[in-house]
């Protein structure tokens, strides 16, 4: 079993996995950094402005400048806050944001130093459920941060965030069940491999994709679902009392979350590291397996970039929901739709197998 392999530590395997984890974490942090830059640039363009262009060429050093600024800010812990939890909150937010990346297949495997290295940290047979588990842990970052700040706005935001995430997790899970009935596997790697052979899941599950996407927006606390951090209603919500890099971690966790969710969406519905319109096995004969693996990673990255752009695009287009509208959409629209989608998929599968 895979977990057994992981636990029965094999030194070179351990080293390989550690390096991979390091690489993926660094990579997601860098991407998250530049997503903040992209957010500001795209927002500016959509509003006929220019965006940051002072730090470095085209403002490319802006994220570094922002990060440095946050590091040099004074660290304030409110006197009446719960100190341990106040520090724990942002750490939890960041950790849960990063943890999901463990089960995403970032590419097929590459051959290096005579070893076949899989570009996935852990191919657990419950990959998707793991993602759900970690996402459901993500609430605690918000809740603990909001509560320990000892501030009414933070508390309201924390409660809003928690109830929103719980509500949309349901619809998210239900929308995926239809997909899982088709694939018959919970392992993300298997799902990608099936898509390489039988076409992307978006073709078979457009409604499921739509519901999933909406729920992903809600889980990431992005506009139109950014009620927990509604700046004009709640003074920035659960991270109101935070300053310096603790605030930075919260803000950054949002972008890491966006990156990872984009990766999950591309993996589940858009073929993951599948290069569109190309037969990978034929290509690997002519180009070599390593090149194809890298190309596959590039394909996945392109898909992720598209979704990151979508996140930003939607944010600068749609205004925020009212709270009752949010709950209405989650419970009364998306869950019934997801259930209907599930039923239809089940009927079609049974009918085709008859």
């Amino acid at each position: 079993m895979i977990t057994m392999d992981l636990l029965a530590i094999n030194f070179s395997l351990g080293l390989e996995k550690l390096l991979l984890i390091g690489a993926i974490i660094t990579f997601s942090l860098i991407v998250a950094m530049y997503t903040t830059y992209a957010e500001r640039k795209v927002a500016a363009w959509m509003q006929d402005r220019r965006g940051p262009n002072r730090a470095g060429p085209f403002g490319l050093l802006q994220p570094a400048a922002d990060g440095l600024k946050l590091f040099f800010k004074e660290e304030i812990i409110p006197l009446t806050s719960n100190k341990t939890l106040f520090v724990l909150g942002p750490a939890l937010a960041m950790i849960t944001a990063m943890l999901t990346s463990a089960v995403i297949p970032w590419g097929s495997s590459i051959e290096l130093f005579g070893r076949n290295i899989s570009l996935q940290i852990a191919d657990v047979n419950i990959g998707i459920l793991y993602v759900f588990g970690v996402v459901s842990m993500g609430v605690y970052g918000i809740m603990i941060g909001g509560w320990s700040s000892n501030n009414k706005f933070s508390l309201i935001a924390a409660v809003r965030g928690a109830s929103q995430i719980i509500s949309y997790e349901l619809a998210m899970g239900l929308s995926l069940i239809a997909l899982l009935m088709m694939t018959g596997s919970l392992s993300l790697k298997t799902i990608v491999q099936q898509q390489m052979e039988g076409g992307w899941n978006i073709i078979y599950q457009p409604l499921g994709f739509l519901i999933f996407l909406i729920c992903v927006f809600a889980e990431c606390n992005r506009t139109p679902f950014d009620l927990p951090e509604a700046e004009n209603e709640l003074n920035f919500g659960y991270h109101q009392e935070y300053s310096s890099m603790k605030l930075g971690l919260y803000l950054f966790a949002e972008y890491v979350n966006m990156f990872i969710s984009s990766a999950v969406v591309s993996t589940l519905f858009f073929g993951g590291y599948d290069i569109p319109f190309v037969d990978e096995t034929a290509l690997s004969l002519s180009l070599g397996a390593n090149t194809v693996a890298l190309l596959g990673f590039a394909a996945l990255f392109a898909k992720i970039l598209f979704f990151l752009f979508l996140f930003i695009w939607v944010r600068w287009t749609i205004p925020r929901f009212r709270y009752d509208q949010l709950m209405d959409l989650g419970w009364k629209k998306l869950i019934p739709l997801a259930l209907a989608n599930m039923l239809i998929t089940a009927v079609v599968i049974l009918w085709l197998n008859k």
């Binding site: 079993m1 029965a8 939890l85 419950i126 459920l129 793991y130 459901s136 509560w147 719980i166």
Partner: protein, 171 residues
């Protein structure tokens, strides 16, 4: 010592320690958070037993959903130490008695089942999603469905309780 054993003892110690902290911490929010740590430790135990599905469901349902709701309610409570109602002596005595007898039963049950525990530390595969699904939908399909109906009725009951009486709103 095998790595599994080290992990097992570590997780056990963690689970026991945080379970103690659940009881001993003064702040209810801290209690809930320690309880989450207990659940995480138990999730770790499940993984060691190669019951990945159970592990992750334990994490999603208990640590992820139920504890969030607990936290939710507790955060809204007035947590001033002065306003905490003092329980009567008889109440405390009854609590100790019932808790103690439960512990007695648990110890007795575990004492007889020494073999069971050691077998669970092996490489069983009942916790994997495939086997679990097969068992649930063949051997135990009737209890499974009955329990789901029970949940449904609980849900309906919650909605009925939560719904305001329309006549009171009008008046």
């Amino acid at each position: 010592m095998h790595i599994n054993e080290i992990l097992f003892w570590f997780l056990t110690a963690l689970a026991l320690f945080s379970a103690m902290m659940v009881v001993f911490s003064k702040n209810p929010v801290h209690s809930v958070l320690w309880l989450i740590v207990v659940f995480m430790a138990i999730t770790g135990h499940y993984i060691i037993m190669n019951a990945q599905f159970l592990a992750i469901v334990n994490m999603i349902v208990y640590a992820g959903a139920i504890m969030v709701l607990f936290l939710f309610v507790i955060m809204f409570m007035n947590l001033n130490a002065e306003s905490e109602p003092q329980k009567s002596k008889w109440m405390k005595f009854a609590a100790v008695l019932s808790g103690g007898s439960l512990m007695l039963i648990l110890i007795a049950a575990l004492k007889d089942n020494g073999g069971f525990i050691s077998s669970m530390r092996g490489e069983g595969s009942i916790g994997l999603i495939k086997n679990l699904g097969k068992v649930l939908f063949t051997d135990y399909v009737v209890p499974f469905e009955i329990s789901s109906i029970l949940f449904l009725s609980a849900m309906v009951g919650a909605v009925v309780l939560g719904k305001k009486d329309s006549s009171t709103i009008v008046s």
